[in-house]
Symmetry: C2
Subunit: 417 residues, 2 copies
């Protein structure tokens, strides 16, 4: 049987535009991976009457209603009250949840007010979805042919509550398992990737193949449905191998979080250290590397040389290169990487220099002209980039940093640059 899902988010802050509805996105991704059809997103504010009307509409058209938000004491537990009423259920006090709320406040050393205990009132006969990431418990019940699941609003709670509480509950509703792998690519455009896929693997049903693109990277998610995980993996594996073969060195990993993660893991595996010298990326490379816990094992540090003076004085870039070729040049990119390798005493150094905009530089280089270089014990390599198509400063900086990471990833894997 095919389910139809409505995601109903409750929160005036969404209607004021203070925040985007990230909950709906998180849930939609997760539900699609489960093979469940999300047909509607609805948002209402902390208003009982409009919430009641929205629930009445959802009840008529969907057979799974997932709510986010409106579980806290400040909104009078609007969501629970309205959903319980709509399905003719009483709210009853759940002692276990009350204990968990009390201990949450003790643990985080914050004072608890009495209305926090309101959160322990839950629809009679529901499955309690224990919230280990905040105070408001979620819950799930089935009534009148409809499955209702209520999750807290803050994305930092909604995300794990979906993953660890709602998802297992929903898996019980679908037959078999859904498994997926994500193949990550760098250095290929989305349209090129899709064009190549169209020829190779048309009419796929199980597994399915879904492309995504963001910030100059592409990914392909392969998803299969089968009676058990082993059978799903058996379905997935040939497609994963086929895609890897098709895109060969453009594939930087399967089920890995990011390019910089792959670089750090490659360094750890080889016992090598890394340093950075950044001009146009202005610290973004170091920031992305140190976003990852444990980066300090292999990342020694970086130098942001935003002026020629720092390039010369701290990185030791020869003044005659700066004078002859300008800061935005292959020669300076390489000298920066070599200088960082020496100054930071690391095995590998990455560098960036370019024009992030909004204006051309004084050497008349166009916005989007970028150079990234890598210095290793075996020598130096530089890549020239022309990212001028859609020259948005933030995007240019992200892509340039990714290109530098791609050089490191290729060096560490022994692939041609």
């Amino acid at each position: 049987m095919s389910h139809s899902v409505e995601i109903l988010s409750v929160g005036t802050e969404l209607l004021l535009g203070n925040i985007a509805n990230l909950d709906a996105q998180i849930l939609s991704q997760g539900l699609s991976e489960l093979g469940l059809n999300v047909f509607w997103h609805t948002v209402v504010g902390d208003n009982p009457q409009r919430a009641r009307e929205a629930v009445a509409i959802a009840k008529k058209r969907a057979d799974i209603i997932i709510t986010t938000g409106g579980l806290g004491p400040t909104c009078d537990d609007l969501t629970k009250n309205v959903l319980a009423e709509a399905f003719g259920k009483k709210l009853v006090f759940d002692e276990d949840s009350a204990q968990r709320i009390k201990s949450y406040f003790t643990r985080t050393n914050r004072p608890m007010t009495e209305n926090n205990l309101q959160q322990a009132m839950l629809p009679e006969g529901c499955t309690v979805l224990v919230n280990d990431w905040g105070t408001a418990p979620g819950c799930a019940f089935e009534a009148e042919g409809c499955h209702v699941i209520m999750l807290p609003g803050p994305p930092s709670e909604c995300r794990p509550m979906f993953l660890y509480r709602a998802k297992p509950y929903l898996l019980g509703l679908s037959e078999g398992v859904i498994a997926s792998h994500t193949i990550k690519l760098f250095g290929i455009g989305e349209s090129t990737m899709e064009a190549q896929l169209r020829e190779q693997m048309n009419h796929m049903q199980n597994p399915t193949l879904a492309p995504y693109a963001k910030e100059g990277e592409c990914e392909l998610r392969v998803t299969a449905k089968a009676p058990d995980d082993a059978a799903a993996q058996a379905l997935l594996q040939p497609t994963v191998e086929q895609v890897k073969a098709l895109f060969s060195d453009k594939v930087y990993g399967v089920d890995v979080p990011s390019l910089e993660y792959v670089v750090l893991e490659g360094l750890k595996a080889k016992g090598l250290t890394l340093g950075t010298a950044e001009s146009c990326t202005g610290g973004l490379m170091a920031k992305r590397l140190t976003d990852i816990p444990g980066a300090s094992q292999v990342f020694k540090g970086g130098i942001v040389s935003y002026t020629n003076e720092v390039k010369a004085q701290v990185l030791g870039v020869p003044q005659h290169l700066l004078d002859q070729f300008g800061a935005v040049s292959q020669e300076v990119a390489m000298a920066m990487a070599q200088g960082a390798r020496k100054a930071l005493n690391c095995d590998i150094a990455l560098s960036s220099t370019g024009v992030a905009g909004p204006d051309k530089d004084e050497w008349d280089n166009e916005v989007g002209t970028m150079f990234v270089a890598i210095a290793t014990p075996e020598g130096c390599h530089v890549r020239s980039l022309h990212l001028g198509n859609r020259p948005v400063r933030e995007r240019l900086r992200i892509q340039t940093a990714s290109h530098a990471f791609d050089l490191a990833r290729r060096y560490l894997s022994g692939i041609e640059y």
Copy 2:
């Protein structure tokens, strides 16, 4: 008359979770500033039947319906077809729009297919909202007591189309103007701020005061409605002054984009230069400064010293301080700032060192133990932070960088640290 608005977004990519509904957020912000009440967000996919049902619901409960998405040739212009049908209007060919679509393709040097011209079919008698940011024109009409506005889906088109096309149209519906100022605060919690405001300015009607909190910062938006801008400003000014006086040195600016922006402006005004030395923030300070175009006028560069070796070798932090106090200490924070000031040859240097987690450091410092320091021609100052309440790595790093910027902002404004 008080309007009630529904934002209806059309797009299967939203229901799959490929993207978040940023359009709804952008529009909600803008509509709230116009004093219009957004009561509902709805999302449906590229499915005519469900779109028709959603429009029927919206027509019953809202008197302004704003749609986003579903205007392109790939979805058969779903939105226009469904809305025109719901309000009994024909679609007619608009020659001006057709010309604009043709010249858009010529200008961007891309081939046009015949179905692109479908986008020139618009509801009879509508106001065409010219799209200078893409191909699909928007439109607006009034029928059966309801205002309908259709905007394209991509946020890069939806945002300017709202601002420059829909907003003027909507302003015609409301009497007078709405003006606002945003007061930015750092170093005060949202609940403390709200508690102080409750006493001082209860029952405000015009102007209104709305608090927002994010990433350890707070802001207060003061909004007034009046017959013209001068009258609105006259209403706003006393409240802005009152709030500034109430929170005194916690206020870092009015209508400014960020703390780092204020720091860069302060440096420019005084003709001073800045450098950074980062441990726990790992490049985030430099990244945030260089996110801002023109930072290079005053920001000379930074050193990310993620290891003690780099702290000693590049920043010149005395080894005995590292041995005696550990890298996470007041002493090392100050030595880092002083070292950066010298190495980068800048007037002011900021530093950070601390434990961003997820684990304690080898000196048994708790996650969230942070030190930020500033070195200036007049001397050095350090601030100790204990951000352990909700120790999420990303949040800790953002807040620590902000605290360093706060030191610079205070130095540049001659306020006590």
